[in-house]
């Protein structure tokens, strides 16, 4: 780690003299590919709304943590996130309501429950930083956590990607090919839940979903196969994250929101490229 810090100091950017900026820079370097990978599949599966609900449900996780008197509610958030993801996936399969209504019901319930718990005796203000997030609070320990999650995600992406892809193209076709769709779907949503919950403190409940969805949605406009889709998504995520971090340093803005803004600009650029070239 010391070595990396020293290397970073050689880069001629004034902001890198601060350790917290070094941590933040390293964090986004690893968070970008993590969100890019998961995002490609989340967009394929039309899960934008789902991950939004997941982000909102973090409030309940934090609330449960507070009730239990934990100082660090991360485990509660992850546990509740996983529970909610699997519940939504399961109910969606039952197919009795349209999936956006189902997700909306879960999302509002989880958010309302979280707010009710946290706002007891008017105490919500001390949790409000979760809404926007602060990337400068990242510590070295957090960095390790991000890197481990990224490695796990890559492993899943190597072992399960083809199955995930076939399930996302057509579920019953995948099943007819002997793929365990329930298992693959659950592994994926659990991975998304863990990633979202880990990062929410830095990226913010309100903006985290865009970071997952926008780079992949932008890449989708201009890619034709799985390989280019992955490469382009990852590039866009990197550009948005690094650009957003610089922007937030220069202007003192929220990093999460700045990253999302840049990703949104890239989305509109690729959208116009695709509209004009009919890819």
């Amino acid at each position: 780690m010391e070595l990396i810090y020293e290397l970073l100091e050689k880069i001629p950017f004034s902001f890198l003299q601060y350790d917290f900026m070094k941590n933040a820079l390293l964090a986004v370097l690893f968070l970008a590919p993590l969100f890019a990978l998961l995002g490609t599949m989340a967009v394929n599966n039309n899960m934008a709304f789902f991950s939004d609900a997941l982000g909102h449900s973090a409030l309940t996780g934090i609330g449960i943590g507070a009730v239990l008197g934990l100082r660090e509610p991360l485990l509660c958030m992850i546990a509740f996130g996983i529970f909610l993801s699997i519940a939504i996936t399961k109910v969606k399969c039952a197919d009795r309501l349209s999936s956006d209504s189902i997700i909306s019901v879960f999302s509002s319930t989880a958010m309302a429950l979280g707010i009710v718990i946290l706002s007891q005796q008017g105490g919500f203000a001390k949790y409000s930083y979760y809404l926007i997030g602060d990337i400068l609070t990242i510590t070295q320990k957090d960095l390790y956590l991000i890197i481990i999650t990224l490695i796990i995600c890559y492993i899943v992406w190597i072992l399960l990607y083809n199955d995930l892809l076939l399930v996302s193209i057509n579920r019953s076709f995948a099943v007819s090919r002997g793929i365990n769709a329930v298992f693959t779907e659950n592994v994926f949503v659990i991975l998304v839940a863990i990633t979202v919950m880990i990062s929410i403190k830095w990226l913010g409940i309100l903006t985290i979903n865009s970071l997952l969805i926008l780079p992949a949605a932008a890449a989708r406009n201009i890619s034709r196969n799985a390989k280019s889709y992955h490469i382009i998504t990852m590039f866009i995520a990197w550009i948005a994250c690094l650009g957003g971090l610089l922007f937030s340093y220069e202007w003192g803005t929220s990093a999460g929101a700045s990253i999302v803004l840049i990703a949104a600009v890239i989305f509109f650029i690729t959208f116009f490229i695709s509209a004009n070239s009919a890819i």
Binding site: L166, I169, S176, R224, A226, K227
Partner: protein, 251 residues
Amino acid sequence: MNVHNSCGLCRVEIENLSVKSRKDILLDNVNLEFHCGQLTALIGRNGAGKTTLLKAILGEKKYTGKIHYEKHDGKEMKNIIIGYVPQQLLFDKSMPVSVADFMMATKTKKPVWLGYSKQQKQNLKNRLQEMDCEHILDRKLGDLSGGELQRVLLTMAIEPMPDLLILDEPVSGVDATGLDLFYKKVTYLRNTYHIAVLLVSHDLALIRRYADKVVLLDKTVAEQGDAEDVFQTKAFQQTFGYFAGEEKIWN
């Protein structure tokens, strides 16, 4: 008929097969047999249970009764390989997935986002060539015509070469030329690899031309035999109208 070059299967026998849903009887006591090297067509009105029968054979629907797979020496065959081409593949057309990605994903565990070797790509090309559509390998899956998609699905259904190939004929999105080409390819497969083909179809003219045997289904087997014989029966005429067989056949 003693050429069994690629398949060990000789005969599929369905005995007293019934499928019930919560309220209805979907299939009632179906008795049926079909052979390898033959194209057997299932016809019938909507709701006659054609797709249900396919699903029962594929193991996707619970049924009572028996399905035997027999080798040419009369012994029961286990671990039969069934290839299946669905009626239609509904998917998000804007998805960035190429034909090559789609085919590779079903064939290997190596994730397709890592790309593939020249050798693998050549193999895919050769397989598509057999279906006369090697030029679409790098196209986006969502850009294919209905007929092209159907042939890609057929290419995938014959790897590994099945003992029994089940086809649910596309009802929409495939034009007449595409459908004819599809049947030609199925016939080619039947002749070359001597597999049993079972298909659900709505196009009586094509059945007349390509099917070896026709089964008219209406919850149970109403008629079976050669196309011409079945087309003359009362049950057929009640289902499809008195002139259906003739008008379409003889044009």
